[in-house]
């Protein structure tokens, strides 16, 4: 039996599906989002605001819905964030496409789109649109990101080169992340917990490998305790194993440990061999030998100062007894993940009991700071003070909550946060080269014609300037130190403004391109700063003026001063990384690690604005079309975020202010504190576009009334 759908109907059907999903996810989106309660088939309940979990829990049957869910889950696997935004953005894109083909229904769409719409309707070939989408995603988007958007990026790092991270900027990032992930009354607490965890685990040389480690072994690194209030959650130094000691012998001082993966006691026969018993005496002697051997091994371990034995298998009573006699604590039945985590932290290979016994040194031991039982809500755990050999300092998170479902939510959110940070710490290569020649019609548009804005001119011919420029960067480093230290001195001052962000717009390293507006803007900013903090920041402003002479120095300085309520502390200056990014963009464009933007739809509004600008200059109708649709769909996200706000903070106000600021080249002022990863946003955008392309290329859905095949099942196992 076949049921078919018309090609034009597929967008309509997809839109209907997406709208239903949008209704569900938009209620838990953003800082005002609420919780959703899911029941599992086992009867357990789960609280969630995690878009991926919700979509999974729905067990959707509609084929298009299932495809969307598949796309979301593969996106989540990569980035750990953005499932809800995915759905909302996709829904708006579909709505836009639908409106194009159905112009009578939507008079709000601008004239431009309608005329194109007719053309499209005439062609009626979704394939073209999907091709245009692919072109957009692979050729245009990256260019716009690099050309226009990158000048607004901030860096999460306080020093780009060393990638050092200061606590307050991480706090801002995490708070914004957890806002959308955990209940409103807990998000501050959980983000503080995560922050603590991050800084306790990481050394200054922390690389991406630590994120990978935490991401891979997150289950082993946290302990859930039900029945206690959430506020009892805490970080514990060392590793907590979720089992009890088989034998516990209190020990202190020089504690060494070994890991074993097989029983220490020798057995009569190993697999594949045969043991022939000829007499009773033989049996008794072999038993005696086994006993003596076990005893000797344990004694030997003791002589090497081994006081802890971790075993991945159950050890016989005999081993346990001799361990107790020799003062060796034993933990049995460790999972393979636990063993490999411990091995990764301390770089220890398992101990193999020697066949021919000799009094040699055991090389596979590791020093442990302590090993003791830990009692959490009358359940006993093993608490190990491992001494890490890698850059990860082992710590565990104890998550408390009244119900299991809530703890799982927090666990999920923390895990997702690590995934997000893992992405943020990576450089993202953009599929775009600045040195494109003029033969390509689209890329020629990137060479900025003219506007009141300041801009960068990635002129390939100016390669010679590169070297002197890089020299100045090195100089800048020292210059930048001054205001930073100054600000730290006054870090106790309470700033009356809710938030003051001082952007000094980007200017090109080649000073010939410096426009008057930029200079004006520069001085304007400086005035504003001195007005507000004249008595305190006088010194600072002089620093500015001296540096103003050098022109380039200031332009890389981006002061962000935020008043955090209650504390009255100032955010340390986060240095804009354009000096790095720009110099790289001459060769190949990439987004450096740690790019962030303020939350509250900043990314969407910016991209919307630049896409519209781009569309105006575009000559090809498909491109204009696609850019317009994407630009408009992007606004759907801030619209949901500001849904409940009124007055000055309602979406139209925010939008108008932002566009005005962009047009007049003034800094964008965000009404919310918090940062979000640009990489995540960018990846989300490309994932949605890919998903949309997939939807559009389908012209017929065929329902097969047959039991799912094995191949099919393997596919569905990938679902979240």
């Amino acid at each position: 039996m076949l049921s078919s759908m018309a090609a034009t109907g597929s967008v309509k059907a997809a839109l209907q599906v997406a709208e239903v999903l949008e209704a569900i996810v938009s209620c838990c989106m953003g800082p005002e989002g609420r919780q959703v309660l899911c029941t599992k088939p086992t009867g357990e309940v789960l609280l969630s605001r995690n878009g991926g979990r919700l979509l999974e829990a729905l067990h959707l049957q509609h084929p298009i819905a299932r495809m969307i869910v598949d796309c979301v889950s593969s996106h989540l696997k990569k980035t750990g964030d953005g499932a809800k935004t995915f759905i909302i953005f996709l829904c708006h894109l579909l709505r836009g496409l639908h409106a194009v083909t159905d112009r009578e229904k939507d008079p709000l769409m601008c004239e431009n789109i309608q005329t194109h719409g007719r053309h499209w309707k005439n062609c009626c070939q979704w394939k073209f649109i999907s091709q245009a989408l692919v072109t957009f995603q692979t050729q245009i988007l990256d260019g716009i990101m690099d050309q226009y958007l990158s000048r607004h990026f901030l860096s999460i790092f306080s020093s780009v080169k060393e990638r050092t991270l200061c606590r307050s900027s991480l706090e801002l990032l995490l708070e914004a992340y957890f806002c959308g992930r955990v209940g409103r009354n807990n998000h501050k607490f959980i983000s503080q917990l995560m922050c603590d965890y991050f800084f306790k685990c990481m050394t200054c040389k922390t690389g991406i490998d630590v994120f990978e480690l935490v991401d891979d072994y997150f289950v082993e690194l946290n302990v859930g305790v039900t029945g206690l209030p959430v506020s009892d959650s805490r970080i514990i130094a060392g590793l907590v194993l979720q089992k009890d000691f088989s034998v516990y012998c209190p020990a202190d001082g020089d504690i060494r440990m070994v890991i074993v993966t097989e029983t220490i006691q020798p057995l009569f026969s190993t697999s594949g061999s045969e043991f022939i018993l000829n007499s009773e005496a033989q049996f008794q002697t072999s038993q005696f030998w086994i006993m003596e051997k076990t005893k000797a091994i344990m004694k030997h371990l003791r002589s090497q100062n081994v006081k802890l034995l971790l075993s991945s298998v159950k050890q016989p009573d005999l081993v346990i007894y001799y361990a107790g006699v020799n003062g060796i604590s034993v933990v049995e039945c460790l999972s393979s993940e636990e063993v490999s985590l411990i091995r990764r932290i301390i770089g220890l290979s398992p101990f193999v009991p020697p066949q021919a016994f000799s009094q040699c040194e055991i090389s596979n031991t590791a020093l442990v700071k302590f090993c003791k039982p830990l009692i959490l809500r009358s359940k006993r755990y093993v608490h190990l003070g491992l001494i890490g050999t890698c850059t990860f300092i082992p710590h565990c998170v104890v998550l408390c909550g009244p119900v299991r479902g809530l703890i799982e939510q927090h666990e999920d959110a923390l895990h997702g946060a690590f995934k997000m940070l893992r992405q943020l710490f990576k450089d993202l290569d953009l599929n775009y080269m600045t040195q494109t020649s003029d033969q390509n019609g689209t890329s020629s548009l990137f060479i900025y014609k003219n506007s009141g804005e300041s801009y960068q001119a990635p002129d390939t011919g100016k390669g010679s300037i590169q070297r002197p420029y890089q020299d100045t960067v090195v100089e800048n480093k020292d210059e930048l130190e001054k205001p930073q230290t100054y600000l730290k001195v006054h870090s106790n001052l309470v700033i009356s403004d809710v938030e003051l962000e001082t952007y000094i717009p980007y200017s090109t390293p080649t000073d010939t391109f410096q426009t008057d507006e930029t200079l004006k803007c520069l001085s304007l900013e400086r005035n504003r700063l001195t007005d507000d903090y004249e008595p305190l920041l006088k010194n600072n402003s002089t620093a500015y003026s001296t540096r103003g002479n050098k022109r380039i120095d200031i332009s890389y300085e981006n002061l962000q001063v935020t008043n955090i309520t209650g504390k009255g502390s100032m955010l340390p200056v986060s240095c804009k990384l354009q000096n790095m990014g720009a110099s790289q963009s001459y060769l190949s464009s990439s987004m450096p690690a740690g790019c962030v933007l303020p939350v509250g739809g900043n990314f969407e509004i910016l991209l919307h604005y630049y896409l519209l600008n781009y569309a105006k200059k575009c000559h090809q109708s498909e491109e204009t079309m696609v850019s317009m649709i994407i630009a408009n769909a992007l606004l759907g996200i801030p619209r949901v975020l500001y849904k409940s706000k009124t007055g000055k903070y309602s979406f139209p106000h925010i939008y108008i202010r932002a566009v005005h600021a962009l047009k007049t080249n003034q800094p964008l002022v965000s009404s919310q504190t918090g940062l979000e990863s640009v990489t995540g946003k960018y990846q989300l955008l490309t994932s949605v576009l890919q998903c949309l392309t997939k939807i559009l290329t389908i012209d017929l859905v065929i329902t097969v009334k047959r039991h799912p095949q094995k191949v099919h099942n393997q596919d569905s196992e990938d679902e979240l």
């Binding site: 209940g183 029945g227 009573d317 005999l318 007894y321 009244p402 309520t565």
Partner: protein, 570 residues
Amino acid sequence: MSRLEAKKPSLCKSEPLTSERVRTTLSVLKRIVTSCYGPSGRLKQLHNGFGGYVCTTSQSSALLSHLLVTHPILKILTTSVQNHVSSFSDCGLFTAILCCNLIENVQRLGLTPTTVIRLNKHLLSLCISYLKSETCGCRIPVDFSSTQILLCLVRSILTSKPACMLTREETEHVSALILRAFLLTIPENAEGHIILGKSLIVALKDQRVIDSTVLPGILIEMSEVQLMRLLPIKKSTALKVALFCTTLSGDISDTGEGTVVVSYGVSLENAVLDQLLNLGRQLVSDHVDLVLCQKVIHPSLKQFLNMHRVIAVDRIGVTLMEPLTKMTGTQPIGSLGSISPNSYGSVKDVCTAKFGSKHFFHLIPNEATICSLLLCNRNDTAWDELKLTCQTALHVLQLTLKEPWALLGGGCTETHLAAYIRHKTHNDPKSILKDDECTQTELQLIAEAFCSALESVVGSLEHDGGEILTDMKYGHLWSVQADSPCVANWPDLLSHCGCGLYNSQEELSWSFLRSTRHPFVPQTCLPLEAVGSASNLTLDCLTAKLSGLQVAVETANLILDLSYVIEDKN
């Protein structure tokens, strides 16, 4: 292939709290828990229609574990109460009632969940910081040098569980026993880090409650025949004990993954038995007096040991192993070969004892931190309830040892706290709101909902149609009997407040709890002399109540925050 069956789609409902079905089920649950609350609470009989076990109870732990809750929202509520009870034992009903009340009261207001949750959280932290502060007017320090307050604490727990069916004398007797059992678990000369021992509860059903007793050491139940066979030991010094965790039955232990081929005529049983007898010889030569085995001892070995005047007791079971290890100071032996002399432990003496129809082998320790509480009650259900109550009381005493404070019980803490919050939100709303986006009106509304939720918890202490009043000085609770004449002569009608700290002869003014009152400042800083003079106070565990309060508010917040329920129908 049945695994490959396609999954059924889930059921998704929006705004679950507005549905009539949820409201009804919530109010049914609320009625069940409120009617159980307090000393005069009504009992619930739980059974399934096919016969079998019948449970009569008024305790949250027994009640909720037997109730079959299907709606996910109710499940959240009951599991969070159960989780609280399993960590703190006490204040389960309080938590459940408060949570239901909060949800109900707040829903009536129709404010947005964001505001409600934020303000509830502020009010909660106000409560917590007040209850933990020095100025708190409803908590008293617990003095471990006298038994008075500790007894009050235990007595309050016993009287609040009417399903134990205790008379006044029995209550006194059992309270004293529980306190003794607890004190026996505290090591005598502890330095720094104290490790508490354990009180083992031994069942003696169909006996008078008055026959219950506490003994130091461990009782191992045995049949009379077995007990007769044990030879009496007459020894002036302590007895040497060997405790085996491995089996002594002569099984052949794990032989590995390969095959073991036994030639014809070779008897492994004999070989193992030889080994066991060798072990017996070693035990005898080491002058062991008592052999205890978790598993089974081979009859021949038993016979051998008996011949050499060694007492052998087997099938002890895994539950007794830890207390036995602790009490005797042995290392559980897992070897049939050479035994290290350090593995032996000792007991002071052993004897046989008979309680009711049961016979016990009694191990008397040298230094007791392990004791046995022999608990008697008339029938099974009452005994189960009494056992749960005793465990609760022992746990509460442990918690109190960690945090030596107790809250005034009988509802006085709740009314006092409500009065404090009303006063605080009325007079100093700015300090609570700080920089929040909420208005003062919203705060007043939520504070009223919060306070009345607290007050209706204590309102449910009264099940016989009486009235509940509160005084305008201390903010304590006073109850009047139902049929008392409606006169304004309150001092004669009321004798003591709920916790028993104040009597009505003071110059106090009262008002009905349900009526509206002007906010007043309840007297803070409890005078110590008042506590000293009162002998019969009703007290609550501070730790358990604090956690209960937090869990109730957090759970209510969670439930109020729900916008969708997705039910998996697979």
